[in-house]
Amino acid sequence: MPDYGFGDYLQFVLSGLSTGSIYALVALGIVIIYSVTGIINLAQGEYTMLGAMFAVTFYKWGLPLPLAFAASVIVVILIGMLIERLTVKPVRSASPVTLIIITVGVSIIIRGVALLIWGATPYSLPEFTPGAPLTLFGAILSRQRLWIMGVTALVLALLYYLLERTLLGKALRACAINQTAASFMGVSPGQMSLLSFALSAALGAVAGIVIAPLTLVSYNMGLMLGLKGFVAAVIGGLVSAPGAVIGGLLLGVIESLSAGLISSGMKDAIAFLALFVVLLWRAEEVTPRLRSLLRRQSEVEG
């Protein structure tokens, strides 16, 4: 094992935190949709792909990067809302497992359509502020990684404001707690479901766009990000927004440390090992949720 100094460890942690920020955003999207609608949205990763793809496309059309960013987020929000209206609304009373399978179908369709539109060749997006990497206490960090962490922090602050400081956020949370009671307050569960998809799509799109300069933007980039986001969401307990953030950051750092200290080929294996460990370790919290999901399934069938 090579002889690492403080700067190297710091670098692993910082780059882990930036990748973890991406996982956190994806995980938050999963948590929001799950809390409000009871659906585990396995298509969440596709929003990152769509975000990156549209940003690349708009940028190539000549839009300045910030505008391409904003336009892409808006388009992906609209797509998220359309998906909700087309797939979730018509089958609101279907069993949870059916709904999960629908989201798998949705993700396959999105990937297929993306392949048709954009082809299989990867694209790239320039760094937001190109330039030499920054050095911090011996750690070397690309500027884009700072952008990732900064944008994530901003998005988290906005989300915190929405959920903690506005009546709309409280209505969304009320709906997540007790849909029937919320509807007696005049809160429309259908509208909240739509809102949760819009929010999750926005989170996914932002994640996809900020990571785009560091990765290959291709039709299937959402698959792995979606899975990692799901792992992070489960680490965080599946219904907790702070939990999702911590889960995402933790997963990013664990991955980065294991890639640096053991082998970069281990990265993905480590993520799923982490999922396994968490499912065992937090079995008491997470399993009942999954179990009640399955129980509702058998009630629907029974």
């Binding site: 506005t166 009546l167 009320a174 919320a182």
Partner: protein
């Protein structure tokens, strides 16, 4: 104000309401009496739009409610304190109350996305909050605590306060005194009387049928989903049959 004709509702395989016909006039308290499982809660849920109706008509202020969603009936001024409180346990007491006023802001995106403190400071909301805190001072003391941390009786106060925050025109109350000390229960019934005097119309389900009928103008008796008796409160209070069955 509320007219129900031939209402039938199925729950699971059970015929929970059969051909129920009743009316509630503006400014009166109507008490709904019946044994456990008679269909009282089902009736309130059906009026609020939360249960599908198999046949019959519900009309409110000349408007058909059939097939209308609960969020829409709420916006028409129908408030419901559901059985079992159903407060939002992980939201603060104040947030629970402010959600009661959501009907006023539904669709007003600027208010919905603005700081919630501004809503708490709106004149009409502040006034209603003051009324609720006046009734239940404990809620003001606990306003920043999670609703779920309140005692059962305090949660019931919160549920009632939350319904009042929407300043409903028609209030549907299920099990008003559930979990409350007898003293407070009586006080609340008296309060309903005062609110009726101020123009609120109330359809009341209450375990303590005698106390409920004392504050009500009229009453209906439900048995296995059917109305089996109706009359003015004093007629029902004095009927032998009803005394034996429900006022024991």
């Amino acid at each position: 104000m509320l007219t129900i004709e031939g209402l039938s509702v199925k729950r699971g395989g059970v015929q929970a309401l059969r051909e129920v016909t009743l009316h509630v006039d503006e400014g009166e308290i109507v008490s709904l009496v019946g044994a456990n499982g008679a269909g009282k809660s089902t009736l309130l849920y059906a009026i609020a739009g939360s249960l599908p109706i198999s046949s019959g008509r519900i009309e409110y202020q000349g408007q058909a409610l059939n097939g209308m969603s609960p969020e829409r009936t709420a916006r028409l001024g129908i408030g419901l304190t559901p059985e079992g409180r159903q407060i939002f346990g992980t939201l603060s007491v104040l947030d629970n109350l402010l959600l009661g006023a959501y009907v006023d802001y539904a669709g007003h995106w600027r208010d919905l996305l603005g700081n919630i403190k501004r809503i708490a400071n709106d004149d009409s909301v502040r006034e209603r909050l003051a009324t609720v805190y006046d009734l239940f001072p404990i809620l003001e003391e606990r306003q920043s605590q999670d609703g779920g941390n309140l005692s059962g009786g305090e949660q019931q106060m919160l549920a009632i306060g939350r319904a009042l925050m929407s300043s409903p025109r028609l209030l549907l109350v299920d099990e008003l005194s559930m979990g409350l000390a007898p003293n407070l229960a009586r006080q609340l019934l008296g309060l309903l009387g005062r609110m009726r005097d101020l123009g609120l119309t109330i359809l009341l389900v209450e375990q303590d049928a005698r106390a409920a009928l004392k504050v009500a103008e009229r009453g209906y008796v439900l048995e296995t989903g059917r109305i089996v008796a109706e009359g003015t409160a004093s007629e029902l209070l004095n009927s032998d049959r009803i005394q034996k069955a429900y006022l024991g």
